[in-house]
């Protein structure tokens, strides 16, 4: 067992433990923080595979931007245990069934997948030069199509978020605002 294996097991335990923490913790802010640590553990795995670019992009995009937005929303919602709506039994049952089906599908796909053992840290596809070359030559069409998809999603978000023509606040709005203040 060399340093590579030891790091691998530590990171794996961290990732799985924190992923469990995400779904088991009651406080949503704690869930978000567990998820951030999970992303760090996954980035650590990328570094072990010599994919530094993927590792840092994972941190910038997920831990640095998306989780900040999650936290943003959770902070605004003021979630407390006593005001949290209780889900009905049927909803819980539906959740268990759909989650179980997803789990089954993932398990089946992993079982039939062909496993290849990677030579430890000898691959360098995750370095930015190689990744860029592959993305812009071999996979240029899927890459461009997915960027168009992102662009359209962005424009869609802007259209949805755009305010209607500003109109004076109605009586009901004013009452609500007073209550808030």
């Amino acid at each position: 067992m060399d340093i590579y294996d030891i790091l691998f097991w530590i990171l794996s335990a961290l990732a799985v433990g924190c992923a469990l923490g995400v779904i088991l913790s009651r406080n949503p802010v704690n869930s978000v923080m567990f998820l951030i640590v999970t992303f760090f553990a996954i980035s650590g795995h990328y570094v072990l595979m010599n994919a530094q670019f993927l590792a840092i992009v994972n941190i910038i995009v997920y831990a640095g931007a998306i989780m900040v937005l999650f936290l943003f929303v959770i902070m605004l919602m003021n979630l407390n245990a006593d005001v949290e709506p209780q889900k009905g039994q049927m909803v819980q049952l539906a959740g268990v069934i759909s989650g179980g089906v997803l789990f089954l599908v993932i398990l089946a796909s992993i079982k039939t997948a062909k496993t290849e053992y990677m030579d430890k840290a000898s691959t360098d596809i995750g370095l930015i030069t190689n990744l860029g070359k592959v993305l812009f030559t071999k996979y240029v069409l899927p890459f461009e199509i997915s960027s168009v998809l992102f662009l359209s999603a962005m424009i869609g978000a802007v259209v949805i978020g755009k305010k209607e023509d500003a109109k004076p606040p109605s009586k009901a709005d004013e009452a609500e605002m007073k209550q808030f203040l």
Partner: protein, 359 residues
Amino acid sequence: MLLLQIDTALIIEKVILISVILMGSLGIAMYATWGERKVAAVMQDRIGPNRAGPFGLLQPLADGLKLFFKEEIIPDRSTRFIFILGPCLAMLTALMTSAIVPWGPDYVTDSGRVISFQVADISIGILFVFGVVSLGVYGVMLGGWASNNKFSLLSSIRAASQAISYELAMGISLIALLMLTGSLSLREIVTQQHGFWNDGYFSWNFFKQPVGFVIFLTCAFAELNRAPFDLPECESELNMGYHQEYSSMKLGFYLFAEYINMFVSSAIIVTLFFGGYNFPFMDQVQHATLAHPILFTIICILALLTKVVLMILFFMFVRWTLPRFRYDQLMKLGWRSLIPIALVNMLVTGVLILWVFKK
């Protein structure tokens, strides 16, 4: 069981370098607080701190001691763990970025050992800075939320939206620079800016990317939460902002992290745009000091530190000159001005590289 195949000399070398850099950034940040008060005093026609020691030079020590000995109060209704985690994260992210700044050229000892004045020369270089900067907002956000105070919460929401908005423009302005350098490694970027004049043009990136520099600098102000973009802690609207409920050294950590951030981001800006440790006529100086190569290294490090101090002074002059922006003006500037300008700058740079300079 062979755990690590790294020679001990390298580990000792790096540990010394890391300690020196950490102590150095703490010391410079300490005297930056003194400098800021002196600059403010000069600009407002006052004297500034002058009681503790000559010219008030012991004032930062006195302030630090005072903060340590103050009573520490953790609000009753706060989320205790996250409340304590907030300032720790702010301090951690502030100190982490200095790991990839190249502080000086490689020094070769008599026995042929190469000593590098950079903690880690990683291939993703500048992206590491981005990763840490994007994490920097957590300290403010979590601390403000955990305080269980309206003003702190408003402040942390402001900080988060400001950081996300300005990170975009910052990233796009850097893409143009990276197209020129063709490398993400800070060491490589500094080496390309060797000297001051090369091939009939300035070699520093500031002269090749002036628009990108202005955008990057503006975004740096916003990311540092410094005036004129210090909306998260603007005292006229939010009392004190995210650190309102903090006392003692936890408050000190938040205030101190800002000065460390200022020092490290000045070092990054100087490295990216002002040639890092390069200075005019450095080849001649290197030739003159051939007998004592360590002298040349020291001159290089001093050149870098001089530029960093000038940059910090610039940050201070701006703080005491410009009034604070309104929040909607801040957002408008970020989304409607800086991002379009950065995009056009990127496009123009790409066209020039492709058709005019044929790199």
